[in-house]
């Protein structure tokens, strides 16, 4: 059996092109050699020529029934009113406040989440320092200025300043009385500074 000059797959690619006269002379030569040797590809080529003849029949059949000038007649009025070609302008973009706000909020949330996830910024510490600043109070029962409760949040601004008066209880424990409300404070109940936290008296 004679060795094929090219693979059938490659030959069929050329068959598709050859059916419409789109092969180069060297390709046509290779293909004809292959077709001479391969009966399957010969049959395939014949089928392709039949399919192309259908396209050829349809090719010359579609007459344009509109008279020349009909398209121009339809648009000339519109164009003459314009005088000059309208410049192509890309669609205008409007600033969308809602989307911008949403983006800003999302960004802020992302930053807050990122900062919170840093080592040393645990969730409780964040809440205690920022959301409940009054819980971090310094307490000095024996200071000369008298006991006071101060806000030690980052802003440093005072939130409340109850005037506490030390008072010795019946069993010897020290209580503190709020001058304004008369409420008694027991030292144990007052939140203590945690490890490493500075007390601000």
């Amino acid at each position: 059996m004679q060795k094929l000059t090219m693979k059938c797959e490659d030959a069929r690619h050329l068959v598709h092109l050859s059916a419409g006269n789109d092969t180069f002379p060297d390709e046509e030569h290779l293909l004809s050699e292959h077709l001479h040797q391969c009966s399957d590809c010969r049959a395939y080529h014949a089928g392709m020529v039949r399919a192309m003849s259908v396209l050829e029949q349809v090719r010359d059949r579609q007459p344009v029934e509109r008279p020349t000038g009909s398209v121009w007649a339809g648009i000339s009025g519109q164009l003459k009113n314009r005088r000059t070609p309208e410049r192509y302008e890309p669609p205008r973009r409007h600033f969308n406040v809602a989307v911008a706000t949403l983006c800003a909020c999302s960004l802020m949330l992302a930053i807050v989440t990122a900062v919170r996830s840093l080592p040393g910024n645990d969730a409780d510490g964040w809440n205690n320092q920022n959301l409940m600043p009054a819980m971090h109070v310094g307490f000095s029962p024996g200071s000369a200025a008298g006991p006071s409760v101060r806000n030690v949040s980052s802003s440093g601004s005072s939130v409340q300043r109850p005037q506490l008066i030390p008072f010795k209880g019946p069993s010897g424990e020290i209580l503190y009385i709020d001058q304004a409300t008369g409420q008694a404070w027991v030292p144990n109940l007052i939140p203590q500074a945690r490890q490493g936290e500075r007390l601000d008296f």
Binding site: H13, M52, V54, V58, R59, Q62, T68, V71, L79, R83
Partner: protein, 215 residues
């Protein structure tokens, strides 16, 4: 076998400007007419429309058999071309640029119809035209054209465009490459694939028809 078309035969002139040789203006090149049209000369643009309108209509009708719709799309094509003249690169040929607008507008329209059709409860009815008894029976020709049209609809757009322009409209591969903005090598490859797809679909359809006829 199909004939090879001469390069640029489709783009540089048409039967219409040969018909109107008496006009000096018809001898003007596309580039000159485009230049005038860019400066607002609608008559110059009119010359371009007259040159290309039949070719554009024919190409559109290969994708959109409805004549009225094809006419509307041809008008839309020229209006778009007029509006975008300032985007046209004068160092290139006007024809491929215009046909590209035509093909893209047609595909856009076909996609719109397809999308609309999905959500429509009732489809639009076709024309109920009474056939002219004097006219020759066009069904034989229509059958073949419609069959080819149906088969072509199964071929992906990128391949269908190449097949229609090359094998039905007779554009050369270089012209198809210019219209689709692809290299000639790509067009040759797509053309081979498109013809393979057409052959397979056509053979399948013929087998199906034969089986139906046999019962």
């Amino acid at each position: 076998m199909l004939r090879m078309t001469e390069p640029d035969a489709n783009f540089d002139s048409s039967e219409t400007d040969r018909e109107s040789d008496d006009s000096v203006r018809s001898l003007a090149t596309d580039a000159r007419l485009v230049d005038h049209a860019r400066h607002g000369d609608t008559d110059a643009f009119g010359q371009l429309v007259m040159r290309y309108e039949r070719r554009v209509l024919k190409v559109i009708r290969r994708f959109m058999p409805d004549q009225d719709m094809a006419q509307d799309l041809a008008q839309e094509t020229f209006l778009k071309a007029f509006d975008r003249l300032d985007q046209f690169d004068p160092s290139r040929r006007f024809g491929p640029w215009l046909f590209r607008i035509a093909v893209n507008s047609t595909y856009d329209h076909l996609r719109k119809i397809k999308r609309k059709g999905r959500w429509m409860v009732f489809s639009e009815a076709g024309d109920d035209r009474v056939p002219d008894p004097e006219a020759a029976d066009p069904r034989g020709e229509l059958d073949l054209s419609q069959e080819v049209q149906t088969v072509l609809e199964d071929i992906p757009e990128a391949y269908r465009t190449v097949l229609v322009l090359r094998d039905l409209e007779g554009f050369s591969t270089s012209e198809v490459a210019a219209v689709t903005e692809r290299t000639e090598a790509t067009i040759r490859w797509r053309l081979a694939e498109a013809r393979r797809m057409f052959k397979e679909a056509w053979d399948r359809r013929q087998r199906f028809i034969e089986e139906e006829q046999l019962g």
